[in-house]
């Protein structure tokens, strides 16, 4: 019951903020709604018992990435409104319609063909540690060590690339 309430409330918040993110005229508002959206998503994670992911969501997304967006938004304080120029043949409405159609179809599929795995296909894997964070950490440092390192390398490369890109040529 409480779970259902929490879910519906959070879902409503998530979708609402998402719509606001997309529709906001002012990029800064979009950013703000994005932050709120992410916070709601993090809350959803908490309800799903994924505290670690939730924390990471807040820390990385809300605290890091979106701040980056905000920076950029404020850096590119555009002289003219960015929406001024409108290129022909972009068919935004068609794209919108297609997105809606895909949503409807996928929803239909999801609803009518109960994609939910009935029971835990594989009984909860037994990890030597208990607690969400510990288990995730265990997985990260045992089974998924290589992907973990690869991800770290990716981040490093991305950082270097971003710095190189953003540096003023002089």
């Amino acid at each position: 019951m409480a779970e259902a309430i929490a879910f519906y409330v959070l879902a409503a918040c998530i979708l609402g903020f998402a719509v606001l993110v997309v529709t906001a005229k002012n990029p800064v508002h979009s950013v703000v709604f994005l932050v709120l959206d992410f916070l709601c998503v993090a809350a959803l994670y908490v309800t799903l018992g994924a505290e670690f992911v939730a924390a990471i969501q807040v820390l990385v997304y809300a605290g890091g990435i979106v701040v980056l967006y905000l920076f950029v938004v404020m850096l590119v304080n555009v002289k003219r409104p960015p929406e001024a120029f409108r290129a022909g043949g972009r068919h935004a409405t068609l794209g919108l319609a297609l997105a809606g159609a895909v949503l409807v179809e996928a929803a239909a599929i999801a609803v009518w063909s109960r994609l939910s795995p009935a029971a835990p296909a594989s009984a909860a894997q037994t990890l030597p540690v208990s607690g969400n964070t510990e288990q995730v950490g265990w997985l990260l440092y045992t089974s998924y060590l290589v992907p973990f390192e690869v991800a770290s390398m990716l981040l490093l490369v991305a950082m270097v690339g971003a710095i190189v890109l953003a540096r003023k040529e002089s």
Binding site: N26, V28, H29, V32, V35, L39, A42, E51, F52, A54, A55, I56, V58, L59, A62, G63, G64, V67, L70, F71, M74, G131, N132, T133
Partner: protein, 340 residues
């Protein structure tokens, strides 16, 4: 029912009021201390020795006209103080003020909740706090607040990294993310992490100063150059909110520092037997004492040190603190593996 709703509610009310009260008198304390440091008297008019000064300030702030600048982004302008206030208060949810106490025949733990990602929670929430500043600077549609907010956000993000790294090294020592767990682990290990992680402690303290925009890192509100920083355009209650948020953050930082490095509610040298007579003093007193010492350090530093230049700030953050923190982290890991 009582267990599930009432007691946490009571705890929250108590903590919030205590915090706000503490914040108000923190302001008075700061003014007094700085006055004394500058051989002044400080506020003396309102009440004996100006003890009622905070009340007067509160009244003034609440009664003042709340101005919204023209062509400001109105509701962001409104949202900004909230965004900076809420995280500051939310953090208290995981701060363990003390051990369990027996009250009215109940065992009541002196903390609101103890989540197993407590430390991450703290970091995340504080990292969210930066939005208040940025949005405030942006929405007030004025050049000084914008610059201030940019500085502030950059500064916060930079020092957040260092702080997080120190926290990681502490977590390495404790083996848990739960605040209570950290304290208990210090008890079980019989030593404050300040002694076995002095580097982390120092870095955390400096980072805390930066996180809370305190001197010598108070560039976001450098009066001389930015006329008050990101909340230049604010007034009245919204300004009060920023103010409260800042001091609340100070308390948060000091509380976290106490929890992580000074053993929380533990008496000094918990593993020394002949000091066990100190045990008669309840743990929450010890906690408040340690936090007070931290707060006093904050004020002391502000009264003592001049302000950094912006590039110096960044150089310190990126080229000194972060490398030191990383080195400390690696060293800790090595030692830990070696001992284990």
């Amino acid at each position: 029912m009582v267990e599930l709703v009432l007691i946490p509610l009571l705890k929250i009310i108590v903590v919030l009021n205590a915090t706000l009260l503490g914040v108000t008198y923190m302001v008075l304390l700061e003014r007094k201390v700085i006055a004394w440091a500058q051989s002044r008297l400080g506020p003396m008019r309102v009440g004996p020795y100006g003890v009622l000064q905070p009340v007067a300030d509160a009244m003034k702030l609440m009664l003042k006209e709340d101005i919204t600048p023209a062509r400001a982004d109105k509701w962001v302008f409104t949202l900004a103080p909230i965004l900076s206030m809420v995280p500051a208060l939310v953090v208290y949810a995981v701060i363990p003020f003390g051990d369990e106490v027996h009250l009215f025949g109940r065992r009541i733990s002196l903390y609101i909740t103890d989540i197993n990602v407590g430390l991450l929670y703290v970091v995340s929430v504080t990292s969210v706090g930066v939005y208040g500043i940025i949005l405030a600077g942006y929405s007030s549609n004025s050049k000084w607040p914008l610059l201030a907010s940019l500085r502030a956000s950059a500064q916060l993000i930079s020092y957040e990294i260092a702080i997080t790294l120190t926290l990681v090294s502490v977590v390495l020592m404790s083996g848990t993310l739960s605040m209570v767990g950290i304290v208990t682990s210090q008890a079980s290990q019989g030593v404050w992490y300040a002694f076995i992680q002095p580097m982390a402690f120092v870095i955390f303290f400096i980072g805390g100063l930066a996180e809370t925009n305190r001197a010598p890192f108070d560039l976001p509100e450098a009066e001389q150059e930015l006329t008050g920083g990101f909340h230049t355009e604010y007034s009245g209650m919204r300004f009060a909110l920023f103010f409260l948020a800042e001091y609340a953050n100070m308390i948060v930082v000091s509380s976290v520092a106490t929890t992580l490095f000074l053993g929380g509610w533990l008496r000094p040298f918990p593993n020394v037997e002949f000091l066990s007579f100190l045990g008669i003093v309840p743990g929450w007193c010890w906690f408040l004492l340690k936090s007070f010492i931290f707060l006093y350090l904050f004020i002391w530093v502000r009264a003592t040190l001049p302000r950094y230049r912006y590039d110096q700030l960044m150089r310190l953050g990126w080229k000194v603190l972060i490398p030191l923190a990383i080195a400390n982290l690696i060293l800790t890991a090595i030692v830990k593996v070696a001992l284990a």
